[in-house]
């Protein structure tokens, strides 16, 4: 980080951000992010806004990865920027029918649906916040809590259950509790990957239950 200038708060945030990235992505991501910030700052000290603003400018998959990391260190809500949510709402056709799509985009940007986003959404669309929370809590796709550093998605389908999915889930829960692992554990109904039963995703990457043991050790 020789010729990049950091503001003291920016440097601290960046360190926290890098630590919040999943280990398997850290080595690859760090130089990419530094390069991006070097270009963006144009010699000026890198501020916190520049760092959080990266989420809007990076393409997938860096975008989602960054959003998740920022959410897990709680910085997505600090000085919550409602204008980002407004932009997302405006990018969709008007009408209640696009609500689910808007919520998906908000979650892609923030890693979850922050309370501030619900407020802005309610104001702009006229849909009651309580109705929005009805949607958020009944649909399985949406998180109302920021995700942790690693998201584990375990398949809870019938086939995977028969192939040891239940045991896998218990093992992960026990291990996480014992070691205080920084993970968000989610279950889904069926990943449709019956050839790697019991299947799970570790930060979006599929693994079989047997391989997963090795992956989990790293987390």
């Amino acid at each position: 980080m020789s010729d990049i200038q950091w503001s003291p708060e920016g440097e601290e945030l960046f360190k926290k951000l890098i630590d919040a990235l999943p280990e398997q992505m850290r080595n690859l991501a760090k130089p990419q992010l530094v390069d991006f910030l070097k270009m963006k700052s144009g010699g000026e000290p890198v501020s916190c806004e520049m760092i959080t603003g990266m989420v809007d400018e990076l393409p997938e998959p860096q975008k989602g990865m960054l959003a998740q990391a920022l959410a897990s260190i709680g910085d997505a809500d600090d000085g919550f920027d409602g204008s980002i949510v407004e932009k997302i709402i405006e990018s969709h056709p008007k009408g209640q029918e696009t609500l689910v799509a808007v919520l998906h985009d908000i979650q892609a940007r923030f890693g979850y649906i922050p309370e501030g986003a619900v407020k802005v959404l309610s104001q702009k669309t006229g849909v009651l916040a309580s109705t929005l929370y009805q949607l958020l809590t009944s649909y399985q796709a949406f998180r109302v809590e920021p995700p942790k550093k690693n998201i584990l998605t375990v398949c809870n389908g019938t086939g995977c259950h028969l192939e040891g999915g239940g045991g896998l889930l218990t093992k992960i829960k026990e291990k996480a509790a014992k070691e205080g692992a920084d993970i968000t554990l989610e279950t889904v109904r069926c990943l449709g990957m019956c050839n790697i039963s019991p299947a799970l995703l570790v930060n979006g990457i599929p693994y079989s239950g047997a391989d997963a043991e090795a992956q989990l050790k790293k987390l």
């Binding site: 209640q96 009805q134 889904v188 069926c190 599929p206």
Partner: protein, 534 residues
């Protein structure tokens, strides 16, 4: 590439065929999600590099899945008349594979799959392109007769003719209910109203199958063509495809496919100069099993909670935004191009007396070979298990199986002689459902499975009607008690009485059949549940 008239299609077919059967070599890599889960994504890069290094003139294509999930990653080499399908391919196999492709022979030391044998007793109507064409390439879809059915319908047939053909074919819904597609379409087409909708149900909320995923990843154009044909038949100019939110790759592939179709002019205004205009919008779901229920799906599309609605009115008369709507399962729609292209008579000759056509069957659970196949109705489940699933792992006996999803309950191993068709399965107290065939071997704890399904239904209950909301919770509690050793005979009696009430009072089929798995275990494996109570 613009397709303004039928003759243009012929030209594209010709150029597309050169991609499928090039003068040089064609190498395909199976890259649907499960192929990727076993490493096919990385293989692609290695293959491209190696082809360049060895100076091989090859067309390398990313394809979907051909059904042989147990052998992923799959790489196929097509060299004129020769075809070599390699399974369980590793990165280190690639140099040898490419060299052998260059030399025109089979590579050594890599597992060769007999795909012809795998396909032999199947009947590939909806899955004919899966694992063969590049899903992102409309030319390859057209090369294999894609969009010719659409051209035939729009230029040679009236909407009523298309409807008639589907009616005569005997096509029944593939989502589980098995309702006649023709009758549904006819009701909608006759319903008064200026605006109508066709909705493709790709929500696949069942916890035991991922075929909508596979289709969207392998052959999204078949879904698009089916929808446009349906729209033409019923008089709808707008269609929605509702996709399970987890199917990100599938969503992307059908999204890309839609762009290509629009560019070609086969979607949009005045298609092929017929005067018929059609547009398709993609919508992501957000989870919950009940969203797969057609009326709940419409609620979700409208931006509300996915709660089912009471019928009447039927959706064909008052559906999406209160307009006449047809909701068809993705697999149902994928059958339509074949019916129009080859005719109702050809279609109706496939299958059994009561059930026409084919069904996708996807294996999971303790099966020896996880895979999926497309078989004609009428085969016995035992035949399907023996031919493709190869029984349970490690030669264990099959204690029980499930075919209709949770609503279909569980069937005992001795019922494997049932025929695969709507009538036989409902006659046995089950139902066809999704076609996800879950194999449970001799070591399966049936009480644990009953609890698994009780948990499932309690979590998935939308909460709208008291019977289901409270009933599923109570069932969950009762089973916990039984597992904990505190079960009594009264509990069993309570299960039976409650489920009888749910069957009558719940608003939708989910609530009505939520207890089926538990009832199945009581009926067929009483020792494992009733035997556990005082």
């Amino acid at each position: 590439m613009k397709i303004a008239k039928s003759a243009d299609l012929d030209a594209v077919k010709e150029s597309g065929q050169k991609l499928l059967f090039p003068p040089g070599v064609r190498i395909t890599v199976g890259a649907a999600m499960c192929g990727m889960a076993r490493g096919s994504g990385q293989l692609l890069q290695v293959i491209n590099d190696e082809v360049k290094n060895q100076g091989l003139d090859a067309n390398v294509a990313v394809v979907g899945c051909n059904g042989q999930c147990y052998a992923e990653p799959i790489v196929e080499v097509i060299n004129g008349k020769d075809k070599y399908t390699y399974g369980n391919v590793k990165g280190s196999d690639i140099p040898g594979l490419v060299k052998a492709a260059k030399d025109g022979k089979a590579a050594e030391g890599i597992e060769l799959l007999d795909t012809d044998a795998f396909n032999k007793n199947q009947q590939k109507i909806v899955s004919k392109n899966a694992g063969i064409i590049a899903p992102g390439n409309i030319e390859e879809y057209i090369a294999n007769d894609g969009y010719f059915a659409l051209a035939k319908a729009l230029t040679e047939m009236k909407p009523a003719d298309v409807l008639d053909e589907v009616m005569k074919s005997g096509l029944q819904g593939r989502g589980g209910a098995g309702f006649s597609a023709g009758i549904k379409w006819e009701t909608c087409s006759k319903a008064p109203g200026d605006k109508k909708y066709i909705v493709c149900n790709g929500s696949e909320g069942n916890p035991e199958i991922g075929m909508h995923k596979s289709f969207l990843e392998s052959d999204p154009h078949s879904v698009i063509e089916g929808m446009i044909l349906a729209g033409y038949a019923i008089g709808a100019n707008e269609g929605y495809v509702y996709i399970n939110y987890r199917y990100m790759l599938g969503f992307k592939r059908i999204s890309d496919a839609l762009e290509q179709v629009k560019e070609a002019g086969l979607l949009g205004d005045n298609i092929l100069g017929s005067g018929f205009s059609f547009d398709i919008k993609l919508k992501r779901g957000a989870g919950t099993y009940v969203n797969g229920e057609a009326t709940a799906l419409l609620s979700s599309l409208e931006g509300s909670l996915g709660e089912p609605r009471l019928k009447p009115p039927r959706m064909a008369e008052k559906g999406l935004f209160d307009k006449p709507t047809v909701v068809n399962n993705l697999e149902t729609l994928a059958n339509v191009p074949f019916i129009i292209q080859k005719g109702a008579e050809v279609f109706s000759k496939i299958g059994s007396e009561s059930s026409k056509g084919t069904k996708i069957i996807a294996f999971s659970g303790n099966v020896a070979r996880p895979c999926w196949v497309e078989v004609p109705f009428g085969m016995t489940i035992q035949e399907i298990v023996d031919t493709w699933g190869k029984g349970a792992k490690e030669g264990k006996k099959i204690k029980a199986y499930q075919i209709g999803g949770p609503s279909g309950g569980i069937l005992p191993g001795k019922a494997l002689d049932l025929r695969l068709d709507f009538e036989s399965l409902t006659g046995a107290g089950s139902l066809l459902g999704s076609g996800g065939l879950v194999i449970m071997d001799e070591d399966t704890d049936m009480l644990d499975m009953a609890k698994f399904f009780a948990d499932f239904s309690a979590e998935e209950s939308c909460g709208k009607c008291t019977t289901c909301r409270e009933g599923t919770l109570r069932l969950q509690e009762i089973l916990s008690d039984i597992i904990g050793g505190n079960g009594t005979e009264e509990h069993i009696d309570l299960i039976k009485r409650m489920t009888a009430g749910m069957a009558v009072n719940a608003v939708c089929e989910f609530g009505k059949t939520a207890a089926e798995p538990i009832l199945s275990v009581i009926k067929y494996f009483p020792d494992e549940i009733v035997g556990k109570v005082e």
